[in-house]
């Protein structure tokens, strides 16, 4: 029986079964994608002459990285950088503090339905609006300056952290939490003993990650007048001061690397 099957198969070629079984669908997807790519490429008009001219400037910029100019605009760089750091710190603290209750509220397994819905709505709004757009609106409302940036970053932090915190709480080990509940703990005690120890390491890790993101984002808020190093950077580009721009970018990269290193150490310690 099986040998007849074998005899049938011998001498016949073998092809790997396709990922998408339906041949028509497979080809439609492939052709559709290729057609889209062609259409997309066609609609980008690239001024190659302009690009060619730009190569020199691009090269000048690359060279600028070998001789960054920290000195001539140091006071601008310093005040911008300080403002970025200040906004990052303040917004991270406020954002993390607010996102904890909202995160608790957005976890279906510990929050009652009305609170759950409200908290999820806050998270959804915060995540759907990008930092830069929020910053534009807040600058329009509160005026130029780091306050708008601070509020923007706090708001974005809430959406990010609450969502991940809520997901973490929803995925936690029920048995541990139940054991604490069984001991007759009150709600706060229950959160403190049953939930907090389980999600704390991840919360610390995510907070560190968010501080990192907040700093990176603070570097662009200045483009719309919401304070930070972005304004200085924008000016440097406008004046074609590539060596100053390079200096600022190096500082940003350096600080991000330092933050990542720090968060690596902290995460390793809390686990």
């Amino acid at each position: 029986m099986s040998h007849r099957e074998l005899d049938d198969m011998l001498g016949k070629g073998w092809r790997k079964p396709a990922f998408i079984k339906n041949a028509a669908l497979r080809w439609a997807l492939i052709i559709g994608f290729v057609a889209y790519l062609i259409a997309a490429f066609m609609t980008i008009d690239v001024d190659w002459g302009r690009v060619y001219e730009g190569l020199d400037r691009g090269w000048a910029f690359v060279l600028a990285f070998t001789s960054p100019d920290f000195v001539s605009r140091w006071s601008d760089i310093w005040s911008g950088l300080l403002e970025s750091i200040v906004m990052t710190v303040a917004a991270s603290v406020v954002g993390i503090l607010i996102s904890i209750p909202i995160g608790l509220g957005a976890a279906r397994n510990i929050a009652p339905l009305p609170i759950y819905l409200i908290c999820r709505a806050i998270v959804a709004i915060s995540r759907a609006l990008q930092e830069i757009i929020v910053a534009i609106l807040l600058v329009a409302i509160f005026g130029f300056g780091p306050l708008a940036g601070f509020l923007t970053l706090s708001f974005a932090t809430i959406g990010f952290l609450s969502k991940l915190l809520a997901e973490d709480i929803e995925a936690m080990d029920k048995v541990q939490a139940e054991a604490i509940k069984a001991s007759g703990a009150r709600w706060m005690q229950w959160i403190n003993y049953g939930v907090q120890p389980q999600v704390m390491p991840r919360l610390v890790g995510l907070s560190m990650y968010r501080i990192d993101i907040n700093f990176r984002e603070s570097a662009i808020l200045g483009l719309v007048g919401a304070g930070g190093i972005g304004a200085t950077l924008n000016t440097a580009f406008d004046r074609y001061e590539y060596d100053t721009a390079a200096a600022i970018l190096i500082l940003i990269i350096g600080i991000v690397m330092a933050l990542e290193y720090l968060s690596g150490i902290i995460r390793a310690r809390v686990q």
Partner: protein, 263 residues
Amino acid sequence: MLRLEKLTKTYKTGDQALKAIDLDVPKGQVLALIGPSGAGKSTMIRCINRLVEPTSGGVLLDDVDLTKLGSGALRKARREMGMIFQEYALVERLTVMENVLSGRLGYVGFWRSFLRRYPQSDVDEAFRLLDRVGLLHMADKRADELSGGQRQRVGICRALIQNPKLLLVDEPTASLDPKTSRQIMRLITELCQERGLAAIINIHDVALAQMFVPRVVGLRFGEIVYDGLPTGLTPDKLTEIYGEEDWEATIEKVEDEDVEAAE
């Protein structure tokens, strides 16, 4: 056919996994390598096909010293040695057929293998092998859909399609239940007989080794402490290999099981 000469492996940590091993494996002989974990069984097998670089000594396959080969010649030499792994080591996300055909990688060029255009003779051989181990109907299933025993059969096919002279088998049954373990061991020894292959089988289950192989080599702390017939494994010998334990019970139990299996 295979000769190990003063094969030594010292890890960077200073652990001496193999201490000047000398071993001769004639053509067509299946031998079991037993010993406690950490005795150097895995290291020895991997030193033979140089998945682990030996520190010193020689590995002679048909009088060619594998330790002196450059990377191209080593690849050719590896084709002569099929390997079967403890955790099957199938490429989980590829189909059974691709896994079997991957045994031919040493023979086909990159683009051919990349486009899965294997020569018809390879495809036929893969079909034959899958039929031999009873998995022909599974050819287009993904490897991670298979049970442990089935995966190990695919692993065996992958090793055999290389058309090797020698099988290196690393704990083939460690992840399997007792019944499947016996089936797999039987399959390996049968296939070796059919094809006249020599094999070195790492195995920690002494009973299983005694059931299926004509020669047992005992390894302890990187040294050979026993080399002979499976029947020669007396409690004293086992104590020498594994350390103090009540071996009488183990051996007797094995024989009981054997009777049961025979019924």
